[in-house]
Symmetry: C2
Subunit: 220 residues, 2 copies
DNA sequence: CGAGTTCTTGACAGTGATCAAGCGACGTGG
DNA sequence: CCACGTCGCTTGATCACTGTCAAGAACTCG
């Protein structure tokens, strides 16, 4: 939640956060086709969102962590358009969207905040399109790791060590790669002394090298 | 603009549309880094939006036509994050975002409409991610053509004939392919009797075949 | 009409996919 | 606490899709 509220306003905002909901690892917060009622603010835990094609193929569209908002895909058609799966036990705040809209008519600061959150998602997806359309495997994985540690660091965690909450296959789906390619690229980074990898644990040894790989952005 | 307004409300909405602006082919409506002030409703013409990486590589993030809204990328950081280039002479309605927000606090129908437009963009980008991450060249181009004629048909144009406003290179950038691959895939569709192509002119002969190609969605 | 841009097509190459096998980690139940 | 089964990860060999390079054709616009 944004700053810029007085005590009275803050209370109203708090009231919108109707209740909390716990989701166990592997369970869904919502599924494609579900009626859209609420946005969700992640309090704890880690999610992936994914869309599925008719033949069951899956595209991970994002990974979300504490403090991030999910569910905005549902606004346009009053039903959700993707699945949100907890990658570890999680707790979310349920924010009924009707209440969010009502209150944001009263509080311009909240209104602007809602708009910014949606705009941020649009911009994020733009950069994923750049990643999927223009970058090669090493660049994609470097970008992915840098983005992840940056977000974790912003939450007070290490900027060099992380524990992946998703499988190689899920990383691959997000990055438009097969799991074998993800694994191989991890191994190559490890061989090059850029990172240490042991299963889900990753330590970034040479962040500059990663940034260099990411910035090169050579066409496929 | 949505339905559901009375005359008085409609007038207020009209007043938000401050003025119009003409953009010649090849010129930019806005550029990455420009201060964000307004959303733009396309009245006539055709745009592409694209982001550029540091080394100048370009990713087309979308093609927009009459009736669609662009500029929402700018809300989050108060400056635009992509370039909007007119692919033919165009005219847009300038909608100062502060006014849009002000009025949508008064008119819940407008507020909901704004939210839906942003959500629609998020959902659209999700399906582009599916396209870029999971589909092969033929599937991508089939999806592209079907999407384009569907949108043109919704505007009263033919559902089988269209004139592309963008180059092979721009199509390729959008679809994560090189221009030669786009050209070859057009030729293949033509050889298979699915479409007729002559430069920018495309006629869809067998829409079902295109849909079949699109639906197969075999992994790369 | 001519210069430049866009498009097509061919030959070849490379990145990442596919197929396959084995290893390692983790969790459950005996 | 350990055996075992499952799931996820790694690595190798091979292949195919699409990229790259190149040349020429077609079209557009001044």
């Amino acid at each position: 939640m944004p700053v810029g509220f007085n005590a009275d306003e803050m209370q109203k905002v708090d009231e919108v956060v109707e209740k909390r909901r716990r989701i166990k690892q592997g369970e869904r917060l919502f599924s494609s086709g579900d009626a859209f009622t609420s946005l969700y603010a992640i309090r704890t835990g880690f999610f992936k969102t994914c869309v599925a094609s008719e033949d069951g193929r899956e595209q991970v569209t994002g990974f979300q962590m504490a403090g991030e908002i999910i569910g905005m895909d549902g606004i346009v058609a009053d039903h959700h358009n993707c699945n949100a799966v907890a990658l570890e036990d999680a707790e979310v705040c349920v924010m009924p969207f009707a209440s969010v809209e009502e209150l944001s008519r009263e509080l311009p600061v909240l209104q602007r905040h809602v708009h910014k959150i949606m705009s941020r998602e649009i911009v994020r997806e733009n950069s994923v399109m750049m990643l999927l359309g223009n970058m090669r495997a090493e660049e994609r994985l470097a970008a992915f790791l840098l983005n992840l540690v940056q977000r974790l660091h912003a939450r007070g965690l290490s900027q060099s060590e992380l524990v992946l909450r998703m499988t190689r296959e899920e990383i691959g789906s997000y990055l438009g790669l097969k799991l074998e390619t993800v694994s191989r690229t991890f191994s190559k980074f490890s061989d090059d002394g850029i990172i240490e990898v042991k299963q889900r644990y990753v330590k970034i040894i040479d962040a500059d090298a990663l940034k260099k790989i990411f910035n090169s952005q050579i066409a496929y």
